[in-house]
């Protein structure tokens, strides 16, 4: 069964450093998303991406964040200068159709720890 994959599974970084989180969405999916979940809290929307551009972003997704689809398979989230409060689990998701028509498939997540 096709699945969303994410690397690395765990990333530890120093405050102020840049991190890139990688995702490989399901191959025939057209819509991509990043969410984050601080330990024990709800899943928070960061950004949605379609047709090589951002469709929507939340208030959390400020200038420190960027997304990119560098090739036909990868979808990345970059945090330019990490802060302590960026520590969270980051989930990538993809769907065949948009939100109103389709389920989202989540990857296993990358746990980001900022020291």
């Amino acid at each position: 069964e096709p699945e969303v994959t994410q690397t690395p599974s765990h990333q530890v970084t120093q405050m102020g450093q840049e991190v890139i989180l990688r995702c490989v969405p399901i191959s025939n999916h057209l819509y991509f998303y990043w969410y984050r979940q601080i330990l024990g809290q709800k899943v928070e929307f960061l950004v949605s991406f379609y047709n090589n551009e951002i469709s929507e972003k939340s208030e959390i997704f400020d200038d420190q964040f960027s997304v990119e689809r560098p090739d036909g398979s990868n979808f990345t989230l970059k945090i330019r200068s990490t802060k302590l409060e960026d520590s969270a689990m980051y989930f990538c998701a993809s769907s065949e159709e948009g939100v109103s028509g389709d389920e989202q498939f989540f990857g296993p997540g990358t746990r980001l720890t900022v020291l």
Partner: protein, 111 residues
Amino acid sequence: GQQVMQIPQYQHVQEGEDFTTYCNSSTTLSNIQWYKQRPGGHPVFLIQLVKSGEVKKQKRLTFQFGEAKKNSSLHITATQTTDVGTYFCAGPSQAGTALIFGKGTTLSVSS
């Protein structure tokens, strides 16, 4: 901004008891989705409801969408230990391109 509220936050039941979680939105939703997240896992899609008053069943799980399309519920009959996890409802964002999740209800089941 749009909010999706969910209660209760935690629920502990004995195996075999029923369980219900409730979801309320501050705005009318075009659809609502439910996800389950096992401890240490990622959200997994359970179902999508679209129509006003819609009721869908999956084995012991019953999902309901309110008439006004602003609330929803998930009811589990005769819980089992495999039902343990956090259940999230999620509605479309303002622009309709992403999901806004409720805080979730964490279910624990003792045998």
